[in-house]
Symmetry: C2
Amino acid sequence: MTEKLYPRFKLWLSTDDSEGAFGDGKWRLLESIGRNGSLSAAATELGISYRKAWGDIRKAERSLGVSLIEKHRGGSGGGETLLTETGKAWAQGYSSLRSEVEKTVSIAFERHIVHLERSKD
Amino acid sequence: MTEKLYPRFKLWLSTDDSEGAFGDGKWRLLESIGRNGSLSAAATELGISYRKAWGDIRKAERSLGVSLIEKHRGGSGGGETLLTETGKAWAQGYSSLRSEVEKTVSIAFERHIVHLERSKD
């Protein structure tokens, strides 16, 4: 009897010039910026440096050819960083893509693999 | 204008003890053994050493708790290595899982991402 088997997957978007143009890491970073209204708070939440967070966003913006975040200065909190409408659309679109893939991985694993595990006994 | 974007994915099966219990590499190795009737021919086809091919199969067999290949001795060719019925079933099951995921990645990319690319212009 062996241990339980789990399906795993990794999903990302590439261009010819940029293998990791967009993926789970940059998606989570966008989501966190949207929740926190701050790039540094998002970096802290994800356990990465501010420099890496900034670099990742800039790399995604260059690869995708869009602006994903924008700074709003002033106000009581000293300004904030928000997602652009395009940034929100990319976060939502990638989230939908990822959810569909995750669901299919789970269903197809049940359909094609689970009976193989059982038949081995 | 940026370059064309492509969806990419990696799929694999894990146990708590074995992160890479089964995946594309071991699946391709099984398929090649099935086609070639030989572990060394399969290793050559995939550009890996016989030692690695043998180790990968043994690791998969231990993780999954099944026998995937069997040696048949004798005959004019000096014997061959074939997939067991269980090995054939795992190769087929993983192939079906992978095909469904690949199809969903492609369809969901068209549905959720492609319009974001177009809207940036």
